[in-house]
Amino acid sequence: MYLNQFLFLSAVLFCLGVYGVLVRKNGVLVLMSIELMLNAVNINLIAFGAFQDNVAGQVFALFTIAVAAAEVGVGLAIVLVIFRNRASIDLDEVDLMKG
C-alpha cells in the first residue's frame, strides 16, 4: 500500500470538512464538519505511524479523539446557549462583531 493513498484520502476528507465549515449555516452542522476534519487528521496520523513503525502515531490519534470529544461537548454547550438566547442557531445572525 502506498502511503500517499491514505494521505490523499485524508486530504480530500479534510477539504470537504473545510468546505462544510465555511458553507454551513447551522451550528451543529459546522461541528460535524469539524469532526470530519479531525478524522482526516487521525487517518493521517495513523498512516504516518504505520509508515514509520512508530507507535506515537496511534497514541497521538487517541489523544486527538479525546480532545475532539471534549471539544464537541463544549461546542454543543455554546450552541445551546446561543439557541437559548436567539431561538436560532443560524450563524449568519451571530454578527455582533460586524463593523
Partner: protein, 163 residues
Amino acid sequence: MLAQNIIFGILAFVMIVAAFRLVTTKNVVRAALFLAIVLAGAAGQFILLAAEFVAVVQVLVYIGAIVVLLLFGVMLTRAPIGRDADVDNDQRLVGGLVALFLLGALAAVLADAWGDDKISFGTVQGVGEVSDSIFGPYVIAFEVVSILLLAALVGAVAIARRD
C-alpha cells in the same frame, strides 16, 4: 496486498461519498448519519493500518458518543427534521474555491513529498505497545488529557447551565 488495496478502495470511496453528502445535504439528521458512516469508514482504515485499538476506540467514542451528542444537539436546537432549504450560507462559491485550492495545494505537496513511499509493516504495534507508550513516555500527556476532559465537562455544564 491486492485484497488490502481493494478493501482500501471500497472504504475510501464510501467515505468520500459520505463526506461529500455530509457537507451538501439539506437534512440535518442525514448529515449526522453520513458522519457516522465516515467515522465507521475511518475505523476500517485504521484496521487496515494495523491500529486495531484505535479503531475500536474510534467506534466507541466517536460513533457511540460524539454522534449521539450531535444528535442530541440537533434535537435540543429544534432543527427542522427533514429537508431544510436554508442550511447553507452565501459563501458556497468562495468556500468551494478555498476548499479546492486547499486540496490542490495539499495534493501538490503530497505528491511531491511522498510520491513513492510504501508502507511496510515492520514491528507489531498492538495494544500492548500502545499502552506501554501511553503509560511510559506519554504519561504526562495522558494525565493532561484527563484533566482536559474534566475541564471540558465542567465547562460545558457551566456554559449550558440554566440559572
